[in-house]
Amino acid sequence: MTQLLSVKNLCKSFGDQLIVNSVSFDVNESSTLGIVGESGSGKTTLVRSILRAIDPDSGSVRYNGEAGWQNLHELSAKELLPLRREVQMIFQDPFASLNPRMTVQTILEEPLVIHDLGDKAWRKQRVMEMLEKVQLDPSSAARFPHAFSGGQRQRIGIARALILEPRLVVCDESVSALDVSVQSQILDLLKALQSELGLTYLFVAHDLRVVREFCDEVLVMYSGNVVEQGPVEEVFNSPDHDYTRLLLSAIPSPDPDEKLDPLDRATLNLQLA
């Protein structure tokens, strides 16, 4: 299996608050890495610094793209542009991530225009294809985002991320704003697209059940540190760190009669090494 992304000792602080503390991990091509942790554990900051939406303080993010291994943070804005085609992001809030003043056609076409791909007719064709791929009616292209439901908007967001045919897609809590039935539809769609296009996902989530079902490997973050990482089944079945146990104990059971009994934080050893 080829390695696609390699993150080494990534650190980021805001003021004197250390948000991401020396995080390292590798991602293989066509696999899915889940990143879990409670709110404020630094998941979003981590993935946004990988995408260079935020500049980290130190550490390296190396990506094995068309041009071979490159350190994303050493590239100039111009050198980065071709890599923008290969690394894309699906956002959390389907209402905030689409410009309310653009039609779906314009939104989906924009990445193609920026990267100067094809002519007008080809781009239009491509938008139609993408809409079909995310199971939306091609006639939606003329509409504005306000005309769609949350799940439909998230599909548009997915179409925008995939229209450049990226290899690595970062999903930042991409299903947590959706209700459960829509969630599973979107997850099924992401899975289908993965096997069709050979995508690699970096999947940020706080819902462990979703991670267990969707991811191959998992990385558990706690206040900026990675406390545990490994294959999903291994981590979920025999957690090493108390924090992972705490998270697992907080998953509600599908059986309504079974009482939720999360572990007590005070009794756990949550000290970071």
Binding site: F91, S97, N99, R143, R160
Partner: protein, 368 residues
């Protein structure tokens, strides 16, 4: 609901605006006022400085269809005034002289003027026959016998345009400085913020007064007009700059802007395609709400005698005549320009409210 899905945000905003009945009315009133201001030379029956020695301080006239005998005339007419001096009080008292009817004529010849300073003509929208003895002073006359209706119209041109021009300049300064402050941040932002605070902490009226007093009295009316406009906008931009800066800062972090950056959009594209369109509507709204402040500013300065001065005619200059109590008792119609100021200011505020509600893309159309 299904056809709502096909509409552009602009069309949706128009739908929301149309439901705001008061704002619609206010918009109509303002359109009429501005049309009056644009075509004031043609609509007014006299030029603003033309004197009528036979009607000094004459009260407003009635425009009639029925004569003193109750007979109907299809063409509207007016009666002239008969001046009597009250021998006890020595007050001038005007009584209608019903012996002669003066028919109102439309598109008729009157005092020659140059339309927009370009086309010499003598046609007016309405007059009474200038060959005859008659005259028409719909809003009465002032102490020099000048027609108040004509003067209110000419004053509208100055007062209403100063609002638009001043707000235009304010917008330019505010969007430029606020935009750069929000986008560049750092030292520039800090400097702009501190200047804003200093300007906002100075009481405006004394400052205006000081600056207007500094305008050379020898300046031509046009130069004074622009001078006053610049003074008014130099202190008006701060609020707008703050809002623009705030929105820039907030919008830089919006998901759809981050998304554009992540697909590789450059700064120019992000600012002009994504950020500016999202707050153009807010800028228009703020500008609409800022126009009355400009108009009131001009009026206040002119009323105090340090803004525009005669022979320029503005609503503030006209109100200068109404500064004493004798006027209010004896010739209350000289206060009419004040009524126009009030109506204009209220109309702008209502229109601004309507636009603000309409511009909010998150306010729902389906409720009510």
């Amino acid at each position: 609901m299904s056809e709502l899905n096909e509409l552009t945000p602009g069309q949706l905003a128009w739908l929301r605006f149309r439901r705001h009945k008061l704002a619609m009315v206010a918009g109509g009133v303002l359109i009429i006022f501005y049309l009056f201001a644009i075509f004031c030379e043609f609509i007014s029956p006299y030029t603003p400085d033309q004197r009528n020695a036979r009607a000094i301080n004459a009260p407003p006239m009635d425009i009639r269809f029925f004569d003193a005998d109750g007979q109907f005339h299809p063409r509207p007419f007016v009666y002239g005034w008969e001046l009597n001096i009250n021998e006890d009080t020595w007050m001038r008292e005007y009584q209608e002289d019903t012996s002669t009817r003066y028919d109102i004529q439309f598109f008729s010849r009157g005092e020659p003027y140059e339309f927009w300073g370009l086309i010499p003509t003598e046609r007016h929208l309405f007059t009474v026959d200038s060959e005859s003895e008659g005259y028409i002073h719909w809003f009465g006359t002032d102490s020099l016998g000048r027609d108040m209706f004509s003067r209110v119209l000419y004053g509208a041109r100055v007062s209403l345009s100063i609002g638009i021009l001043g707000v235009g300049l304010t917008l330019f300064l505010g969007v430029l400085l606020g935009g750069f402050a929000g986008y560049l941040g750092g030292v520039f932002d800090n400097v702009v913020q501190r200047i804003t605070e200093v300007l906002q902490s100075i009481p405006t009226l004394p400052l205006w007064m000081a600056l207007s007093a500094a305008l050379p009295a020898a300046w031509s009316p046009l130069a004074t007009y622009f001078g006053i406009t610049i003074i008014l906008s130099l202190f008006g931009w701060t609020t707008l700059a703050r809002q623009v800066r705030g929105r820039f800062l907030a919008m830089r972090e919006e998901d759809f802007v981050v998304a554009a950056r992540l697909v590789g959009a450059n700064d120019r594209r992000i600012i002009f395609r994504h950020m500016l369109p999202s707050f153009v509507s807010h800028i228009i709204t703020t500008a609409t709400l800022a126009v009355p402040a400009m108009i009131l500013g001009e009026t206040a300065l002119s009323f105090l005698g340090i803004g525009l001065r005669a022979p320029v005619v503005s609503w503030g200059v006209l109100l200068q005549q109404a500064q004493n109590y004798q006027v209010i008792v004896m010739t209350p119609w000289l206060l009419l320009p004040g009524a126009f100021i009030v109506i204009t200011v209220i109309a702008f505020n209502l229109l601004g409210d309507g636009l603000r509600d309409a511009a909010d893309p998150y306010s729902s159309l389906s409720k009510t």
